[in-house]
């Protein structure tokens, strides 16, 4: 049996009296597209934040390709091959999309303690960044101001920047949130094209997207994984139905 690319065991996180993550186990074999669903406040983003390292977990282990990464800061996990997109886009408003993706590419090309030469004129980095933008369909907007981009374009830019990091594992935090239906379809298409090439963990409320894309689904409720299985398993799971129906009562 091969080691899974991502192997999370017994992950716990408490905020005061609230258990945000309750002994979560999660194993993603290489190439899988795994969806994480659950009602609002289930702790999905909290879990993502612990995986990438912007939030420290209380206990448990996070292994990437067999190596423990749970103690590493965010940027070192990125260099190990872990990339993320943000639910609420975190971008550089004064830059252009090209700048943004160039920075992501630059991060892979050694350190940036270089004080001479025009970074924006670096052909190699520029061309590679352009490729990522074109791939995601943002090439025509490469030189717009990020602050002026529409919501859908920002989500695309998030994805382009993450891909430019050449990740082995991509964590997508609600990539469809805030998108119109046409934009959602486009995003689903792009993710479908990446499926199998990059291992992905996707947090999403759009069930259509989840059921179209996912190989397997985990259901998170109050910080606990209550069900896991194929799309069909999850669709017919009674606990999941209760969890989702129960949401309306709260």
């Amino acid at each position: 049996m091969t080691t899974p690319l991502l192997d999370v065991q017994g992950l716990c996180k408490r905020f005061g009296g609230l258990t945000a993550t309750d002994t979560v186990d999660l194993a993603l074999p290489e190439g899988e597209l795994h969806a994480l669903i659950g009602p609002n406040g289930a702790g999905k983003t909290t879990l993502i934040n612990q995986l990438v390292g912007s939030l420290e977990h209380d206990s448990g282990s996070i292994r990437l390709d067999g190596a423990e990464i749970g103690h590493l800061p965010v940027w070192q996990r990125v260099h190990r091959g872990l990339a993320r997109t943000f639910q609420i886009t975190q971008l550089l408003p004064d830059f252009t999309p090209l700048d943004t993706v160039m920075l992501a590419v630059q991060a892979r090309h050694g350190h940036s303690f270089r004080f001479f030469g025009n970074a924006r004129n670096d052909r190699k980095i520029r061309d590679e960044a352009m490729q990522h933008l074109d791939q995601i369909g943002l090439g025509a907007r490469a030189n717009a101001r990020v602050g002026d981009l529409a919501q859908g374009e920002r989500k695309q830019l998030e994805l382009a920047a993450a891909l430019a990091e050449k990740p082995r594992l991509l964590l997508l935090d609600e990539p469809m949130a805030g998108l119109g239906s046409a934009e959602s379809q486009q995003m689903i298409g792009q993710l479908a094209a990446l499926k199998g090439k990059i291992t992905m963990l996707i947090v999403e409320h759009d069930m259509e997207a989840v059921f179209t894309l996912a190989d397997r689904v985990s259901v998170l409720v109050y910080g606990k994984i209550i069900a896991r299985g194929s799309v069909d398993d999850i669709k017919s799971n009674e606990d999941v139905k209760v969890a989702y129906l129960g949401e309306g009562d709260v």
């Binding site: 800061p73 965010v74 940027w75 975190q90 920075l103 940036s112 001479f116 924006r120 030189n143």
Partner: protein, 339 residues
């Protein structure tokens, strides 16, 4: 690419040719300034202009971290003062024929004093930055202010070097082939230093390092998520900025032939910030513009009233409350080429 995309290649920048012309005019003006002053019979003009240039170096160095890096350092005068004292103390031991700490001889050579001042300020910035950059936001402002105040008290307590009263240098430090005692010559020395620091800033800002630094200002979480560790980049920028302020301080001590705790006073830090903001944070020429505006405004007001801080405060308050982006934004508004 669509025509729209091409039109947007230089967002919010006036046409390149125009910018070059403006830059050329500024440079020509700076070179001709002592002659213009003499022609107009304004003897004090060159001296005032020299101060502007020196403050511009300090403001430019602050602008690297404040304008480009987004670090609101409220203690930049500390490095300005440390640089000034470095030059002053070297001269003191030269005149005194004694050694600093018993083994470092003094010097009256500017070519030694300036690098030493930059080195010492850089080391100070490394120490203060290493502590301050562990936090951010409001704490960072307070901590940089506090450390500057600490150094202020240190120099006040050093009786050997004048304590409260400051350290007087009997003569300026010397350069080979040039007479630093001549006002016009010293003006050109300051101008050369400003030009050198300008070129350095220009290079840094467009380099990979500057690219990352600019990103840090806009969103640190994003930069971390792309694989950049914020701390080392910010610390290196902080050190470079400290060295620039040290250079300016050493020049100022030589110009005034005087280094005093006033150079590190917290109001000096405030003034340096004011220069950066007046001129336009994150622009290359902004600090020069801001230094010019503030020094001229202060000398103009002091000529009229003893209570000059009152009108100065009011003017600054109005500018901060009602202008966005300082003088260079104002100028840019009247320039063609704005989309």
């Amino acid at each position: 690419m669509s025509s729209e995309a091409i039109a947007q290649t230089a967002p919010a920048q006036p046409a390149l040719a125009l910018r070059l012309i403006v830059a050329a005019v500024i440079v020509a003006l700076l070179i001709a300034l002592p002659f213009i002053g003499k022609a107009l019979g304004l003897e004090s003009f060159t001296g005032l202009a020299t101060q502007v240039l020196i403050y511009a170096i300090a403001a430019m160095s602050l602008n690297l971290i404040l304008g480009y890096g987004g670090m609101v350092s409220f203690g930049h005068a500390a490095f300005f003062g440390v640089g000034g004292y470095a030059a002053g103390i070297l001269y003191f031991h030269f005149a005194d024929k004694s050694d600093f700490l018993g083994f470092i001889p003094g010097s009256n050579a500017l070519l030694i004093a300036l690098p030493v001042a930059m080195l010492v300020s850089g080391i100070m910035a490394a120490i203060i930055g290493a502590f301050s950059l562990r936090t951010g936001g409001v704490q960072f402002i307070m901590i940089t202010l506090a450390f500057a105040q600490m150094l202020f008290f240190l120099f006040v307590s050093l009786q050997t070097y004048g304590g409260d009263d400051g350290l007087i240098m009997r003569r300026r430090q010397i350069l080979p082939y040039l007479d630093t005692r001549d006002g016009t010559t010293f003006y050109y020395i300051a101008l050369a230093m400003l030009a050198a620091w300008f070129v350095l800033t220009f290079c840094i800002v467009r380099s990979r390092f500057g690219f990352v630094l600019n990103g840090m200002r806009q969103n640190e979480a994003r930069m971390a998520a792309m694989g950049y560790a914020p701390y080392p980049y910010k610390l290196v920028a902080f050190i470079i900025a400290g060295m620039g302020a040290g250079l300016a301080g050493a020049l100022m001590a030589n110009y005034l032939r005087f280094a005093s705790p006033d150079m590190l006073h917290w109001t000096k830090s405030g003034e340096l910030m004011m220069m950066v903001i007046l001129g336009g944070a994150g622009t290359l020429f902004g600090p020069l513009l801001g230094a010019t505006a503030l020094v001229l405004l202060e000398s103009f007001l002091t000529a009229y009233t003893e209570n000059w801080q009152l009108p100065l405060g009011i003017i600054l308050l109005v500018i901060v409350l009602f202008s966005h982006g300082g003088l260079s934004a104002l100028i840019r508004r009247f320039m063609p080429g704005k989309p």
